[in-house]
Amino acid sequence: MAATKTITIDPVTRIEGHSKITLHLDETGRVTDARFHVTQFRGFEKFCEGRPFAEMPSLMARICGICPVSHLIASAKACDELLAVRIPPTAEKLRRIIGIAQVVQSHALSLFHLSSPDLLLGMDADPATRNIFGVLEAEPQLARDGIALRKFGQQIIERLGGKRIHPGWVVPGGVNNPLSQQDRDAILAAIPDALAIALRSLAWFKGVAEKFADEAESFGSFPSLFMGIVNDDGNLAFYDGKLRFVDGDGETVADGLDGADYAEFLGEKVEPWSYLKSAYYTPKGYPGGIYRVGPLARLNVAQNCGTPLADEELRVFRMLHGRTPASSFHYHHARLIEILHCVERMEELLNDSEILSTHVRAEAKPNALEGVGIAEAPRGTLLHHYKIDEQGLIIWANLIIATGQNNLAMNRSVLQVAQRYVRGEHITHGMLNRVEAVIRAYDPCLSCSTHAAGQMALQVQLLGPDGAVLDEAVR
């Protein structure tokens, strides 16, 4: 039996939640296998059992401090199905606004706070300065822009939902309160600055991305399926629509799929080395049914964004990277295009003639015992599926979260990056940072799996076949 070694990166830094990566090396020092382990445990599907269904949106929002609004929306949509009501048109538009506000703030967090240090300072930069504070030293305007975009999104969430984190405003049947003219005008007044920042950030990114051609070729660059929601025009959609799968050539594999039928085409596999399940497209089996969700996938499945500035940027994106870019490095670029689209769409929605209507909630008692809610969260498609008893108490719940749907792709990406950059018995920060950086490109939200506390430390050990420590890096 050949002698092997294992490198462990524990935890992976600058992502949401806690995880570790193990790299398996053969006796020549070549990486033969790699795994992305999610070390947290989640229990939301179980401990909500027995609770009244109307509590579910605010309960599910507690899953995450970064994307609580996505859970609110998917949960409320599942509850709408239980009520069997059509929510008022204004309520739907207001839900759309708060949903895309969250996309803006979450994407800004991912790109500016977590990934821009790698992109601006370089993958091999000193780890002590390769963070948001290093960014502000090197490029203060970029740091200010990141902060401003995140604040823009958070303040809209606060204006609509009452607070930035865990708002309870989205409820079964609609929303709790209408939008005031004062809040509408205040949000509209902030749109021009947000648009300017989004465009400036895109220009910056296109400039720096040229320096990462090598990373773009190995950061999860492989053919896979992509899945996302599209609207009736086949364009980018976050709140509602049908699911579409395309393959690596951009060919449509499945279209017009109803989220409520997810069990017919999505499977989940449990691996013994991770608490994160791996979702796959069942017609192609496991792991052949590997697919990706999130910003890159959404742009790959959509015909267009459907707003003028974002469509122009999408045209440039496709000119640079092709119609269906395969590399997960392009998640960053896609994220910025989505920010631009969301700000444009927000302006449209806020100028809608019905947006100040006070009819924002449909009241009903449960009329169905099962409901599925689906929406596009910042990191990808999110599904909430509930069953209730005659008293309206939850008896079963299933959540399929974006990060789980990217799990197979993240694992394959880690292996690809490790095989490209990690060699021999000596570990460099640059090598390991690239392994982590490809995970950051997906912007996984492991906090959607559970809550964790504690300071992020990093200890990497290179173990020989006999378990002896060959090299170690601690920070």
């Binding site: 706070h113 504070f133 502000l136 030293e137 200010r144 902060i147």
Partner: protein, 150 residues
């Protein structure tokens, strides 16, 4: 115009960790004109922009260490050494961001109220509840002193 900002942070679902939010509620009720108040779960970089508009920033937090019910106040200076970015940042780092990103130098203070129980739950311990009026009084006194005494 002189402007004070109170940033109350903590988790109201973890017992006495929600003390800062409760003190902020009392402050809003009893002295709404005193300061602009923000309640957040943790300190994040974007708070620097809000803090940069203020002349006085008071960070309000619950502490696990110390004698339960004790109210402590100390000045905070902008951090000068390179900062590390974890899941949360410290008051000194917020002031540092104010200075380096927005060329603003608000005066900073950290007012902590020592708690007793930090387990799951949205209720405060009796000793923490008893400390709320003292914390509000300390906040009012601090603001008064910083703005008017000199």
């Amino acid at each position: 115009m002189q402007h004070a900002l109170v940033i109350a942070y903590g988790n109201p679902l973890r017992g006495d960790d929600g003390l800062a939010w409760r003190v902020a509620d009392e402050l809003r009720h009893n002295a709404p004109e005193l300061a602009r108040i923000l309640c957040v779960h943790q300190l994040t970089p974007e708070l620097a922009e809000e803090a940069s508009d203020a002349e006085l920033v008071i960070f309000l937090d619950a502490a696990a260490e110390g004698s339960a019910g004790e109210v402590l106040c100390r000045p905070v200076e902008a951090q000068t050494e390179p900062a590390r970015f974890w899941h949360h940042i410290a008051p000194a780092e917020i002031l540092s961001l104010c200075e380096r990103l927005y060329a603003a130098k608000p005066r900073g203070f950290l007012l902590t109220v020592c708690g007793e129980h930090f387990k799951h739950g949205d209720t405060l311990s009796p000793v923490a509840i008893g400390a709320i009026p003292r914390a509000v009084a300390a906040l009012c006194a601090l603001t008064e002193r910083e703005f008017y005494a000199a």
